[in-house]
Structure formats: C-alpha cells, structure tokens
C-alpha cells in the first residue's frame, strides 16, 4: 500500500497546475446568453488545445499526451481545483473520441478526431429517449437503409449542447426483428440538417442544460456507421464506460470545494459549535474523503491489477447522495439566499436532485451492485 503519487505523476500535476495558474480563462461573459457562453468555452478549449492540455488521456498519435489513468484523474482534479470550466467539447473528448479509437475506421479517425480536440466541431449524445431511459436497449428511433444512406426518424432526450453540436452520437434501431440489444446501430449524425429539430428542455433550476431532439427523416451516410450495423449496443457501452472514470474526479473535487465553502460559512456563523451542524458537516467530510479514497482505489486497481474492485459502481452512488446532503445542509447554513433564485446555493440545491438520476439512477446502480458485484439473482422483468 502506497497512497502517494510517483515523482512522474507529481511532475504532471505541477506542470498542469502552474500552466492553469499562468493561463486562466477569461472571465465568464455575463451578457450575451448561451451563445456568448458557448463561444467562451470553445475559446477556453482552444487554449487548452494549443498548450496540449485539451485531452491528455488521448494517445500521442491522436494529439493527446498518452496520459495514464492516474494522470488523467489528476488532470480532472486540477481542472476542478482551479475552478476553470471543462473543455467545451467534453462529450467528444471523453465519449466520442475514445469510441472512435476503439471502433472507428482509419478514415473516420482521421476525419473526426482532430476537430474534436480543437473544438472546431462539438459533439452531443443521442442515446436516451422518452420511453428508453434506464432501459436504454428498448429505444425506438428507427434507421432505414436507402441506397448508401440511412433515413432516421425518432426522438431523443437529455441531449446537452445540442444547439452547438455538429455531430450527434446516435443509437438507432436498424433491425426490428432482432432481439432488442442486437438490432441497434451506432451512427454519427450531422446535426446541421432541417430534419433535426432541437427543443430546449427546461429543468427544475429554470434553465435548459439539456434538449430534446425531434428527428424526422434525417439522412446519415453509410460511411458514418461506427462499429458495424447491428453492433450499436456494444459500441454504446464503450462510450458509457468512458463516461464516468475521468469526470468523477472533477466532481469529487467540486464536492470538496463546496464542503469547504459550507464549513467556512458555518464557522463564520458560529454553527460549527452547534453539535447538530458539527455532526452533519463531519459526516459529509467522512463521505467526501471516502469518495476520494474509493475513486482512487477503483482507478489504481485497474491500473495495477487489470480489473476494478467493487468501488467503481459505488463512487457515483455515494457522490450523488453526498452532494444532495451537502447542498441540503448548505441551504440551512446559508439561509434565505439559498432559497432565492439567482443565488449559487439555490442553484446547487436544485441541480443536485439530478445527480441521483443522470448517468444511471441510484436504483439502477444498486441493481448493478447487487447483480454484478454481489451475484444476487435478477428478478425477471415484465415481458
């Protein structure tokens, strides 16, 4: 057991930390709405890209640094710690690119990877549907072959950044006769066509982070199939597996920062001497540290022993519940502002309700833990 970082890892952290200190992003635009904000985040990714920091985990041949899992986690920790935004094309960097590296043809890699990295083309994800959430494989969006094109019709939901995206990672049903996991295909769909209508989805915070996509006979060239027709479930799973690993470390640091802010505020108000507040804050501190340890244990076990322990499935579950507890406690520590729109704490309080739903509900995560880690029998789903 050695819970310290190697000299190489420390050097990686130091280099990034000092680069971030010397090259802070411009202040977030206050006017200009989503367009200005999007331009600002693209500009930030461009600067990360110019300095070689857009996607350190990508192999050197694709413009990354070939960073190890640990270094990549350090990268997200430092991005979180510096309180700078994530790259505008985080979905392309974490999901799209790595999926192409595994399943894409040489032509696809050559065509799509460079603009992902440089933020010239933003990517979004078209997996979930109104009737296919946790049960993703039951999705209904259809793709029908027409010459050397596919014609796609259906509806997607929870697509973030759809307005600004050039490419959508789309999973659609290409064979209605096959078993539900087998008739799916993974496409790259050009968002720049009239057949794709984007409608913002207003969420409980009042803003619209996500969108609905209405797709009416959109056209996708056959060359944009990734990983072969009928192989979409497998290809999509590659992407989903990539989704959590890196981001988890940024979220973990973000939780730590919020907790530190609440502790400081509680101390200022003398609430640290109140045993009930002290107990609740210390409990969240223990949870927060456990998340850090479990996340690092999950990651380094993969690195050293080739397979994750049970921790992998526990981190997101524990993080999401802890963030909800923290933001709830923060509301009581902060007081009136936390219940008023426009305050960051009221935003955190409301936004946190999504944490136990997005990227796998806690209920589904518990099923995964019960079935895959503990080996408990699965209750037969209704036909």
């Amino acid at each position: 057991m050695d819970l310290t970082f190697s000299p190489k890892e420390t050097a990686f952290r130091d280099e990034l930390r000092s680069w971030l200190a010397d090259n802070p992003p411009d202040p977030e635009p206050v006017d200009g709405g989503e367009d200005a904000r999007n331009a600002w985040r693209k500009d930030w990714q461009r600067r990360l890209y110019d300095a070689g920091w857009a996607a350190p985990a990508w192999p050197v041949e694709y413009g990354g640094r070939g960073a190890t899992l640990t270094e990549s986690a350090i990268y997200y920790e430092e991005i979180g710690r510096a309180r700078v935004p994530l790259a505008a094309n985080t979905l392309g960097i974490l999901l799209g690119g790595p999926t192409l590296m595994v399943w894409g043809t040489d032509e696809q890699k050559e065509r799509y990877l460079p603009p992902i990295l440089s933020a010239e083309e933003i990517w979004c994800q078209g997996f979930s549907e109104p009737d296919a959430g946790s049960d993703l494989a039951s999705l209904k969006t259809r793709a029908v072959k027409d010459g050397d094109e596919w014609v796609v019709t259906g509806q997607k939901v929870w697509t973030s950044g759809a307005h600004y995206s050039k490419w959508c990672m789309l999973v659609a049903r290409t064979d209605t006769e096959a078993a539900k996991h087998k008739g799916l295909t993974y496409f790259l769909m050009d968002m720049d066509q009239d057949a794709v209508v984007v409608r913002p989805l207003r969420q409980i915070t009042g803003e619209a982070e996500f969108n609905e996509l209405f797709i009416e006979e959109a056209r996708i060239p056959d060359a944009n199939v990734v990983g072969g027709v009928g192989n979409g479930w497998k290809v999509a799973l590659t992407t989903l597996m990539n989704e959590r690993a890196g981001l988890g470390f940024a979220l973990q640091i973000r939780l730590r920062q919020l907790l530190d802010d609440v502790i400081a505020e509680a101390a200022r108000k003398g609430l640290l001497e109140d045993p009930l507040y002290a107990d609740a804050l210390a409990d969240i501190h223990v949870r927060c540290e456990s998340i850090r340890l479990l996340a690092w244990k999950g990651l380094t076990d993969v690195e050293r022993y080739g397979q994750p322990g049970p921790e992998g499935s526990l981190v997101k579950w524990l993080w999401s519940e802890t963030n909800q507890r923290l933001t709830q406690l923060a509301a009581d520590v902060i007081g009136a502002d936390a219940f008023t729109f426009g305050d960051s704490w009221s935003y955190e309080l409301l936004r946190a309700r999504g944490n136990t739903i997005e990227g796998g509900t806690t209920e589904v995560l518990k099923n995964i833990v019960a079935e895959r880690v503990l080996g408990l029998p699965r209750l037969k789903a209704a036909a």
């Binding site: 057991m1 819970l3 310290t4 479990l294 019960a370 503990l374 029998p377």
Partner: protein, 340 residues
C-alpha cells in the same frame, strides 16, 4: 498510488483466513460464547504464531511489522468473531509501546508480545471505566481519561467487577482504580492507533455479515423465488456493501497514515472509527433483518456479529464522538489557514 497489499501481507491474510476458517468455525464460536470462555487452545496457537506481538518491535520480542499487518489480523479475527482477547490486548500494547516510558515497555511488552500476559484498554472518568472489554482476564489495564491522559493499572491494583456483556465472546468488566502508572508519552497518538485496530475488526465483522446475508438471500425462497431477487432485499445488500467499502477504505487510509503520515493520523483515525462504527452497527443490523425470522434466532449466528459490532462501535467513542472530534479538527484547520 497503490491500495493493494504486498505479497507478504497477502500471505498473512491468506494464512489467517484459512487458520481461522479451520479453528474458529461458527459452532466453536457459539460453544465458547455460550460458556463465556476464551478459546484457550486457539489463543495458544495464535501466540505460537506470534500474532499478539505482530506490531510490537523486535526489541520487546514482537514481530516488528507495521499497522497494516496488524490491521489484517484484526479484520480476520473480526470476520471470525474469534473468542480470543486479541484486540483488547493489542490495544494495551499499542498504548504502552507508543506512549510508555522505557521502563513501562520493558515491564509489559515482552509478556504482551508473547501472549503470556494479557492487556485491556478502556476509557475512564473519575477513576472508573464502566465497561472494559478484555478486563476480566487482563494482567494490565490501560485507562485513558477524558483529558487524554493514560495510566497503567496492574490487575491486582484495580477493583474489577465482571460484567455479562451482550457480546460473550470476550470478557468484560467494570474497572475502578484510583492510582496507576501514568504513560508519559504521546497518548492521543496511541489512542488513534488503537482506533484503527478496532476499525479493522469492525470491517471484518461487516464483511462476514454481508457474506452470510448474500448466501442466505440467494438460498431462501419465498413467492417461488430467492428473496435476494427482490429489490427491497437486494438494495439493502448493496447498501451493506457500500457501508462496508466506505469503512474499509477509511480504515486502510488510517492504517497507512499511522506508518507513512503520522501528522494526518488524528483525522484519518477519527474518520475510520466514525465510518467503521456506523457501518458495523448498520451492516450487522441489516444482516439480521435480511435473514428474516431466522435472523432473530439464537441459532442463526448473525447475532454474534451484531453484538461484537455494538461493543466495538462504542469502544473509545463511536460515530458521534468521532465526528465531534473531526469537526474540531476541521475548525482548527480553518483557523490555521485563515490569514492573520
């Protein structure tokens, strides 16, 4: 970063698990629990193997290994709910070695390392410790008071009243002593190391409770299916795993800190004991619940785990007390970080 054990540590774990699997089977534990006796035969065997002295330095006849190795043994003994006074005796030797004078170490450590003498450790207030696990058969008792001072009391110098604790796998007693031989060194550091040992035992208790529960709910059928297929049951099991892994990671971190980062130990030990105390109680309570009616019977054996967890969790302060300590540590850090 590497959370894994070394080959030697894995070997210790493997050996301990197979030995206790043989020698501390449930029926044997029950036999001693019902008679309220220590398993002498097992204890002698453990002494032969050098277990009681594993973390005591070689100069006093110990094995000279670290807190991680000790942690491994505590965890395995917790899994087995072994009816031996290993934990109380180890806590006493930990305090004596860490905070004792050279004379005190010389006087007590060789006997504690070989297992010929037994120790116990308890928190006391006004000269009285209400419940000291292991005190019924201890030769030396370390009493830690509310101000963080500790003194050594030889069994003959104390008034020891045996108690019938709910966990009958180890002796327990009320200890009253007005005098004693004060430990001059770093008592809080010693107590933190003792907290890590208790936490490790609790992790083992949790692990076993979860294993027994998973095996039971796979086997037990109601409404034509194994009850483990119902999410009300399977999600409870998942929660047991989460609680166990939380406690395990915090405890591993604290055991590592004791050797590699002593400055961080106070915080790490408080976190470990908070997580392990809560997990110990929750997970063993869940084990009883998931076993249904059977879980409430004497024969089912899960109650030994629940009872062990209850006493371990209370030992030197449970979740609430550790969190109060943590809050104070956090407040201190904040003051230290604030600009003057």
């Amino acid at each position: 970063m590497d959370f894994g054990f070394t080959d030697d540590q894995r070997e210790i774990q493997r050996t301990a698990r197979s030995l206790l699997g043989e020698r501390a089977k449930p029926e044997r534990v029950r036999e001693h629990a019902e008679a309220r006796t220590t398993d002498r035969e097992l204890w002698h065997e453990l002494c032969e193997l050098g277990w009681p002295g594993i973390a005591i330095s070689e100069q006093y006849g110990g094995g000279g290994l670290g807190r991680i190795e000790l942690s491994i043994l505590c965890e395995e003994l917790g899994r087995a709910v072994a009816p031996v006074p290993f934990l109380p005796s180890t806590m006493a030797s930990t305090l004596i070695e860490h905070a004792g004078s050279p004379e005190q170490r010389e006087r007590w450590l060789p006997g504690l390392a070989s297992g010929e003498s037994l120790g116990a450790l308890g928190g006391s207030s006004d000269g009285t410790a209400d419940l000291v696990v292991g005190a019924g058969e201890a030769d030396v008792i370390v009493l830690v008071d509310d101000e963080g001072r500790a003194r050594l009391v030889a069994a003959g110098e104390a008034e020891i009243t045996p108690l019938e604790a709910i966990d009958p796998t180890r002796s327990a007693a009320r200890v009253r002593a007005q005098r004693g031989d004060e430990l001059p060194g770093d008592v809080p550091g010693g107590v933190d190391r003792a907290l890590v040992a208790i936490s490790s035992e609790l992790v083992g208790v949790c692990e076993r409770a979860l294993e027994m529960t998973v095996a039971y709910v796979k086997d037990r059928k109601q409404f034509g299916v194994p009850v483990g297929a119902f999410q009300a049951v399977s999600h409870r099991c998942a929660q047991m795993l989460l609680d166990t892994e939380k406690a395990r990671s915090a405890t591993a971190f604290a055991a590592w800190s004791a050797g590699a980062d002593p400055d961080g130990l106070a915080e790490a030990a408080a976190m470990a004991k908070a997580a392990a105390s809560d997990a110990g109680r929750e997970v063993t309570a869940s084990a009883i619940q998931a076993h249904g009616g059977i879980g409430f019977t004497w024969e089912a054996d899960v109650h030994w785990l629940f009872k062990r967890a209850q006493l371990d969790a209370a030992m030197l302060g449970g979740g609430a007390r550790q969190r109060a300590r943590l809050a104070a540590i956090l407040a201190e850090k904040l003051t230290a970080a604030a600009p003057a």
